[in-house]
């Protein structure tokens, strides 16, 4: 085989107990691609069964894949794998962050960092090419993420990329994030770095990421094809949100919001998004005016520009000019996207003082709250934090469980009046050491401590999914059984957008069904919204494909908020996308000719390894009853309606058990328990995993 490129070839292993730093060959993990694939294998092999997330024996694997730093569009994500503290079993989870970190890691010569052990005193990790050292962080402990990152830039230079934890991580909160470059945050593993006393990682390097020698021209051609013919807007929405002269279709739900008269109004001079016709590669970055999508029309005049991750032409984050923040002691700038804007607003239980959910007060809340959450390193748990606070407050539980003195010390009046200053009070108390801060424990542990009870677990709108106690994330409302199946397969919220991007692409349902037929074997793979049909094998194929692509993207690494390219905005292609694009980029990056089918098999391997690691963590093979459970509210919503009637997202209990069976069958897993069999593991080259599970008596 010719010289293999794409991977940098080394993993950095840092032991914080002993201070040992060494490198290892990445290529032994090549069949697991990178990112999550490497993370699962290391955690499966090296972290003993029964280890808890904050134990010294737990490890954190921060890894990227062969496409990171190759300039493949939307390849700016970094994957972090470790035991998940929010999970009842501390089962394996990933967190993900964008920004520059992943590419900078490659430029320093590494495909990943394995962090093990725990330091006795605060430290930070300094990586400058092959000069790697553990540095004293006692002066950084207690600082927010921004000050920490800046302090390290003072030492390493302004071009270094720094990831850090804030006070939430230091205090070993379950809902703590790891943040790089101001606001690119990975949720759920910050507390583990806190337990290891690792405050930050700074990276700077001079090593290029090579493409297979002869492939530069081919790469440019492939890039041109993707940018002109295939890519859409944020979430791969492929039609504009308003009627446009060039567009056959439009859909008000689309994030392709660009139009004449819509500006980045706080740019100097303002920039008009204008007509951004499909095919114009020099306007792809203008297609998504995300500020008005996330914050409402009022945000237009405050938009400096759109931002986003390294190498991504879809700019999904809004960079805002908000002088109102100065009142709270902050600079007049804010940047965020999606849930990190909406989560602060969800803690405004009585709305906003100006009475407008898309008004100035709401925008101040979203900008102020997201700034504080990122600086304190608080993870919203996909918005669950706000819902947990809502339940605790409105049920009277909070008053019951908080010591009287503490309860009275919190100025709930601000929230009652809809005053944005509630954000300062709310986030400030979350990182104090009082009882209130247990809201950062996450649903399962919070229920153990405060006894939320059935009303919370079964309450529609509290969104708690399954015994695993993570929030739903594009579940039964997104593709019926398909979304529900995707939601059962993870140990934190299903951060899987493969199905949702397709469903929400903006194309007419008839066209989507046609495409579904081509990709998953039958148009019946996709139901129209709120007009569901009983389970069928094509839905199982759609669900499996979505799950596998998610694992692929977290391993290779690409952004699953845009990829895969199931559809396109191109009328001449009849809106067909190109689901082989990942494998085409992979082949050009690595020099290993790899087909879509080959890559699908590798993805299935990673998905199955994740399942095996979960089984090891939970010490049971009965996934169907212990892990893959579905909350009652999925079946009990709309009490006057029957499942599979028009107008409801309600599903049927027996039908979902059949759906599980059909999904297990697609994977070749044991259909009774949902555990991978030895045959399934060996078919994927995971014999050693099968041997380990057999030793633990965890094979079906």
């Amino acid at each position: 085989m010719a010289n293999i490129t794409g991977w940098q070839g080394s993993l950095l292993r840092v032991n914080l107990t002993t201070g040992n730093i060494k490198t290892e060959d990445t290529m032994k993990y090549k069949d697991l691609i990178g990112g999550a694939g490497i993370g699962y294998k290391i955690i499966f092999d090296e972290v003993p069964q029964g280890t808890k997330a904050f134990d010294e024996a737990n490890k954190v694997v921060i890894a990227v894949g062969p496409l990171t730093g190759t300039a493949a569009p939307c390849s700016g994500r970094t994957n972090i794998t470790s035991l998940g503290p929010t999970n009842p079993y501390h089962a394996i989870t990933d967190s993900h962050m964008g920004g520059n970190f992943g590419a900078w890691l490659k430029f320093a010569g590494y495909d990943g960092i394995i962090i093990e052990g725990a330091s006795k005193t605060p430290v930070w990790l300094k990586i400058e090419d092959d000069k790697v050292s553990i540095e004293d962080a006692s002066s950084l402990w207690g600082k927010g993420t921004i000050d920490t990152e800046h302090a390290i830039n003072e030492i390493m230079g302004k071009e270094a990329c720094v990831a850090s934890i804030g006070p939430a991580g230091e205090k070993q909160k379950n809902l703590a994030s790891i943040v790089n470059s101001v606001n690119h945050s990975a949720g759920g593993h910050g507390g583990i770095l806190g337990a290891k006393k690792l405050k930050a990682i700074g990276i700077l390097g001079k090593r290029s990421v090579h493409l297979a020698d002869e492939n530069a021209q081919e790469w440019l051609k492939l890039n041109e094809y993707m940018m002109k013919d295939i890519i859409g807007a944020n979430n791969q929405h492929v039609v504009p949100s308003t009627p446009q002269p060039w567009a056959e279709y439009h859909n008000p739900g689309s994030r392709w919001t660009a139009q004449l008269g819509l500006f980045w109004g706080a740019a100097n001079p303002p920039v008009e998004t204008g007509e951004c016709a499909a095919g114009d590669k020099n306007k792809v970055g203008l297609r998504t005016q995300k500020a008005v999508f996330d914050l409402g029309p009022i945000a237009e005049e405050r938009t400096v520009k759109m931002g986003g991750c390294y190498s991504c032409p879809i700019r999904c984050q809004s960079n805002m000019y908000m002088p109102e923040l100065e009142k709270y002691g902050l600079t007049p700038y804010a940047t965020s996207t999606c849930i990190n804007y909406s989560s602060p607003a969800s803690a405004m239980l009585k709305g906003f003082a100006d009475g407008d959910t898309k008004g100035m007060d709401a925008m101040i809340v979203k900008c102020l709250g997201s700034r504080l959450a990122d600086d304190y390193g608080i993870w919203s748990n996909y918005g669950q934090l706000g819902r947990d606070f809502k339940f605790a407050y409105t049920s009277g539980k909070l008053k019951e469980v908080l010591p009287k003195e503490e309860y009275n010390s919190i100025n709930f009046d601000l929230m009652e009046k809809g005053d944005p200053a509630w954000m300062v009070e709310y986030y400030g108390n979350l990182i104090k050491d009082g009882e209130f801060s247990h809201l950062l424990d996450g649903p399962y542990w919070l229920d153990q401590r405060w006894n939320f009870g059935k009303e919370y677990w079964d309450g529609y709108g509290y969104n708690v999914w399954s015994k695993m106690a993570y929030p739903k994330h594009h579940s039964n409302e997104a593709g019926a059984q398909v979304g529900a199946l995707i939601n059962v397969m993870f140990n934190r919220d299903a951060n899987s957008h493969t199905h949702m991007n397709f469903i929400g692409a903006g194309l007419p349902i008839e066209l989507l069904k046609e495409i579904a037929g081509e990709v998953w074997g039958s148009p019946d793979a996709l139901d129209a919204p709120k007009n569901y049909t009983p389970m069928n094998e094509y839905k199982a194929k759609f669900a499996k494909w979505s799950i596998d692509r998610n694992f692929l993207h977290d391993s290779i690494t690409l952004c699953n908020w845009v990829w895969p390219m199931t559809v396109s905005p191109s009328k001449s292609r009849n809106y067909r996308g190109d689901t082989a694009l990942e494998s085409k980029f992979f082949s050009l990056a690595t020099g290993i000719e790899t087909s879509e089918k080959d890559l699908d098999l590798m993805s299935e391997r990673i998905a199955t390894l994740h399942r095996a690691a979960t089984i090891k963590n939970m010490n049971t093979i009965d996934m169907r009853n212990e892990h893959d459970t579905i909350p009652n509210w999925v079946f009990d919503v709309d009490p006057d309606m029957k499942p599979f009637t028009e107008g409801t997202v309600k599903l049927d209990r027996d039908d979902m058990q059949l759906a599980l069976t059909m999904l297990y069958k697609e994977y070749g897993w044991d259909e009774k328990t949902g555990a991978p069999t030895r045959a399934a593991l060996e078919r994927l080259g995971l014999k050693d995993v099968a041997d380990e599970l057999e030793k633990l008596n965890l094979l079906p």
Partner: protein, 225 residues
């Protein structure tokens, strides 16, 4: 006022282009006002803030390169495409267009970084391009005489066979644009291939060939020559 701005700009472009034809050497950037940008179809608005980093146009032998900081989103794809096209690999350090080094804190990091340029401040970042200077200091400083003007493209171009990677070009350039690739010990310097502008996702970097520029002027009742 607007008409005078446009006429001034055209006059500058005209004289620099003439100079270029005579001397065969490029010249530093011309500040571009909003009205001129409108003329060139780059922007559609009249509310320029005087403090904002200005858009700039560079007259090069084959046309104009226009750089508009207000449109730069920091995706850094210009750098990636530059190094893929010219080096078959990716790294911001060796890119002939520079944005990564200004990403976090702008051109310099100060104590007031939360208010100033860069992602840690006001989000403004300026892509830097080679000026193809009239008086190319990189070429003058090269002890190997490895940097010469290409006859076809008129770009100051590094002869890789002669370059010894000493870094004199980097040090001599007022903007430190040429960079020695640590993996090859050869200077990387812009050759006006245009890949950066061709791949800019918002048009923040734009290459306007003379023909197109003249057509824009004609449509608006102006003439270059």
């Amino acid at each position: 006022m607007l008409q005078r701005e446009i006429e001034d700009f055209i006059e500058k472009v005209r004289s620099r282009r003439e100079f270029l034809k005579m001397s065969g050497k490029g010249i530093a950037g011309i500040t571009v006002t909003t009205s001129v940008l409108n003329l060139m179809g780059c922007s559609n608005t009249e509310t320029a803030n005087q403090d904002a980093p200005k858009a700039a146009a560079f007259v090069i032998p084959t046309g104009l390169i226009v750089s508009e900081p207000n449109k730069c989103t920091g995706c850094q794809r210009c750098e990636m495409v530059c190094t893929v096209a010219n080096d078959g690999k990716i790294h911001p350090l060796i890119s002939r267009v520079k944005i990564a080094r200004n990403f976090n804190y702008g051109k310099e990091m100060t104590d007031n970084y939360r208010e100033e340029n860069g992602y840690y401040g006001n989000f403004v970042m300026t892509p830097e391009t080679c000026h193809q200077c009239e008086d190319a200091k990189c070429a003058a400083a090269c002890p190997q005489k490895a940097i010469n003007q290409n006859e076809t493209t008129k770009a100051w171009t590094v002869d890789k066979d002669k370059c010894v990677g000493c870094g004199a070009c980097t040090a001599a350039c007022p903007w430190n644009m040429p960079t020695v690739d640590p993996e090859t010990s050869k200077s990387t310097k812009c050759i006006l291939c245009g890949a950066c502008a061709d791949n800019c996702i918002t048009g923040a970097l734009k290459f306007i060939p003379w023909e197109k520029f003249e057509a824009m002027l004609r449509r608006n009742g102006y003439r270059l020559s």
